[in-house]
Symmetry: C2
Subunit: 544 residues, 2 copies
């Protein structure tokens, strides 16, 4: 493993203006190419994307003295003001981020700092307060909610704090199944390190190959195996944090009543209170066996009811997900099985890992059969498993073809799930029609289930021929309003960042925002940390 | 159900100076009486306890104007300044509380207020700020950590805010398995209301018969069925809170990444940030079947290892608990089976409720047999189930007999559990010997298991012949130091109150305390809410 770059062998740095490793780019399957004009009408190929070296950025506002001061915290070789580094840290990987990466002029941080230890993180924060420079913590760079925008707030400059050098397995307690990982460790690095000891974390969000342990914690990530191993926030048993005004080390025992659980203050804080430098997580032995099975169900509603019964009976799948009719059809088209579409309705993927898998499979199967589901064996589930990290590659190909593509997600209680899905679908369709005169195709799946409710994940294609970014901003605002109106959460696992921040007060109330602001003022009184993310900036400057 | 008193039929108000219903008082079994002198030496019967009407209390410092002002918030009939009401709200039910209730002079609140709605709670808080009066939220009155002490802090007076009238099932979503309960609803009331709809909560802490839903939330309670249904904080899906500076209503979906989970700020806050008025909880259908089984294992260490394997394999018991050799011996003595003691070693109780119980039982049994456990059938488990709420009654009888009796608890990761148990046991034994020249008998059980660790619950008997309260304060301080030194949490489910507050900073750090204080200042800037609980009082007075 190359600790310096923070990437395991074979994982090259992510494309600067798209997803993942260019070598893995996925062309649109022929069937999908054929479908698109039918679904969306004629689209327009965008202008060629700009090359990295041709991007125009403002010169860094940091002086030689500033850079020397930061050099004293992380070592001069880890203060990076190169054109490439600044552009590579200019944002996350939402579709708006990618559209911005196609523009000739781009907003970028004034420098990239790469601390190698917790103490170096603390030193950077102290220096940043002293120099009046905003700091954007940067893990894998996969935020899709604008959490990485180089926003300087009221400060002189802004630096990206790349945590990639904080990488590694710091401790493993094999008896307790408890591991401490450095925050900048990526998903594949964490699994490789744990696997070598016979353990795994089992956290597989779509960003897995690039996102980091600290990012999973900061954003309250949830992965594909959440039915079996839980959301990331339920895996976290401890946390170490550097703030501008002091450090924290939390998490002594799996259950505690020693006041409010302060770990939860930092899970979901997206770097506005402090920088997560280490995360303690629950791990489990690498499962030795696995069963895959896919199912067809007549329709989404029937399938959702089945998933509810599975979640409420704790039947025990590791993965369970339901694709609606629209998503099922496109998945089949991708697999060249378009002819099967009409026969399929909605579809379910199940995976069972670990102990007792036959029994868990048979309990789940009983529930699925009872609602009219029919097993279609392993192959579709296997195809899902193989392609499960490829969605973002397809998005790049769609964008290249001039098709707008983005995802969004929410969650609510089971009883409100259908009406929330309808509300979001309508807001998207009507939004694109009204704001851009565009046709759209909306797919939905459930991929995270709980006894009391579930997530809804939408994939959207739209034939926007004009300014896609401007159109999407308006549609997304309509969708956010619709989600809150229908009782959903503004985000199930993408987090708040800057994109959802204007809607947060509607969800947690003004008093909730005041609590977040009070914590922010206490820990980061100068407001240098990720200004504008999660809660509105308080432009207190340096004088308070 | 008598909504006015907040008690279901048959549950009389709790003894003012002991536990529970006087009609259910438990005499010490003969075998235990015979054992005590052997274990502890000769004890001394205490002086007769004072009668309620003879207790001397300071006159209420509230003026007629004050009382009229509070009367305008809750109705004059719900402002209670009677001698009995004030004494009944003078504290919780720790052994120090009960020893204080035996003294001729007692510290009591200046009045008891009984709001009937959320808005009345808000109005009380506004009036209290206006009048400079501290407010102690009071649910079932079962705190064992001093959370109910009538501490006025820097204020003119202190009132107890009895939430018993906020009682009832406000909403039930049977599809999602989600119920909203008023905060003052007691455990039995909640179960009766839910059972009538086919559901249950399944939260059975020892305080179950008196404690309230709001109290469970405020103290991060954990019940006997936690292996099956989780700690109370994991059952909470939403919460409504009145604070002196605004209300909150939190919890839109079971999973969310909409910033930090602010519900968790209030779980464990013990009334210092606001008053919980409603709690939304996950409920499940009343289980139709149950299997009980008890087991003998050679010793505590072997048993703990077995519980770890059960917790890590998610084998699925609803209840699993391990009593060490000392607790097993005394339990058997209580059951008149003292002869079996030497044969028994340590003992395990298992209960399986709900679906799939034979399979879950057989998976658990396989693990227990593998460590050398032998099933002893149903009877001991049934005896545990029947007597499980009786511990506090026995404590009253022990105190009457001059035997000091108290419980305390902690938790840690599995790998540190044995050393934590040894450290606590030594601190207790050596503490009583050094501070009071007394012999003590220490029993321990594990009753809450997690994949990464477990709780330890200690029951302590000591033959203290002098001032029991003074001796215990010194021993308890030694134990708290030992717990933190050995890596345990200062409380697994009893919470912090005033008794553990001086140790909290060692667990969460000064930065952690600053976070709690910042939230406190924001929501309760005058510091009227439960001054001195959880975090040290900030005597800001009314001028800030």
């Amino acid at each position: 493993m190359d600790r310096e770059s923070g990437r395991i062998d074979g994982d090259r740095p992510m494309r600067w203006n798209g997803w993942g490793d260019p070598a893995h780019a996925k062309d649109l399957p022929l069937a999908v190419r054929a479908l698109l004009p039918l679904l969306l009408g004629r689209t327009r190929r965008p202008a060629d994307a700009v090359e990295l070296m041709d991007v125009i950025v403002a010169p860094s506002t940091l002086t030689a003295e500033d850079l020397a001061a930061f050099g004293r915290t992380v070592g001069p070789e880890h203060v990076d003001v190169t054109h490439e580094a600044r552009i590579r840290h200019a944002g996350g990987r939402s579709t708006p981020d990618l559209l911005r990466r196609r523009a000739p002029e781009q907003r970028v941080p004034d420098a990239v700092l790469r601390p190698g230890t917790h103490d170096e993180v603390s030193a950077v924060l102290a220096a940043a307060v002293e120099l009046d420079v905003a700091v954007i913590p940067f893990g894998g760079g996969t935020s899709v909610v604008g959490a990485l925008d180089p926003d300087r707030g009221a400060h002189r400059a802004v630096v990206s704090l790349d945590l990639g050098r904080l990488s590694g397995l710091i401790a493993l307690d094999p008896v307790s199944g408890d591991a401490v990982l450095a925050a900048g460790t990526t998903g594949p690095e964490a699994e490789a390190l744990l696997n070598a000891e016979g353990f795994e974390l089992g956290h597989y969000p779509q960003s897995f190959r690039y996102a980091t342990i600290g990012g999973f914690a900061a954003a309250r990530s949830s992965g594909q195996n959440s039915a079996g191993y839980g959301r990331f926030d339920t895996m976290v048993t401890g946390i170490r944090i550097a703030t501008p005004t002091g450090d924290l080390e939390l998490g002594r025992s799996p259950g505690s009543a020693a006041g409010p659980d302060l770990i939860r203050v930092f899970l979901g804080s997206e770097g506005i209170f402090g920088v997560i430098t280490e995360v303690r997580v629950r791990v489990h032995p690498v499962p030795q066996r696995r069963i895959l099975e896919s199912w067809s169900v007549p329709d989404f509603t029937t399938g959702a009811d089945a998933l509810r019964r599975v979640a409420q009976s704790a039947a025990g799948p590791t993965v369970i997900r339901l694709s609606d009719e629209a998503e099922t059809a496109v998945s089949l088209a991708q697999l060249g099985k378009i002819g099967k579409v009409l026969a399929k309705g909605a579809s379910i993927v199940t995976v069972y890992e670990g102990d007792d898998i036959e029994h868990r499979r048979s309990r789940t199967a009983e529930i699925l059969r009872a609602v009219g589901g029919t097993s279609s064996g392993e192959s579709d589930a296997e195809a899902w498993l193989e392609g499960r990290f490829d969605g973002p590659y397809l998005r790049d190909s769609l964008l290249d073809a001039g098709v707008f593509c983005e995802t969004l997600e929410t969650a609510t209680v089971w009883s409100a799930l259908s009406s929330l899905r309808d509300a979001v679908t309508s807001a998207i369709r009507e939004g694109f029609a009204a704001e851009a005169g565009a046709r759209s195709y909306v797919m939905c799946h459930i991929s995270h289930v709980y006894p009391t409710g579930a997530s809804l994940y939408f994939t959207i294609l739209a034939g926007v021929r004009g300014d896609q970014l401007a159109a999407w901003e308006k549609v997304k605002a309509r969708v956010n309003d619709a989600i809150l109106e229908a009782g959903g959460t503004i985000s199930h696992h993408h987090a708040v960042g800057r994109d959802h921040a204007p809607w947060l007060a509607q969800e947690i109330g003004e008093t909730g925002v005041r609590i977040l602001s009070a914590i922010k003022r206490e820990l980061d009184p100068h407001g240098i940390l990720n200004p504008g993310a999660v809660v509105a900036i308080e432009r207190t400057g340096r004088t308070d």
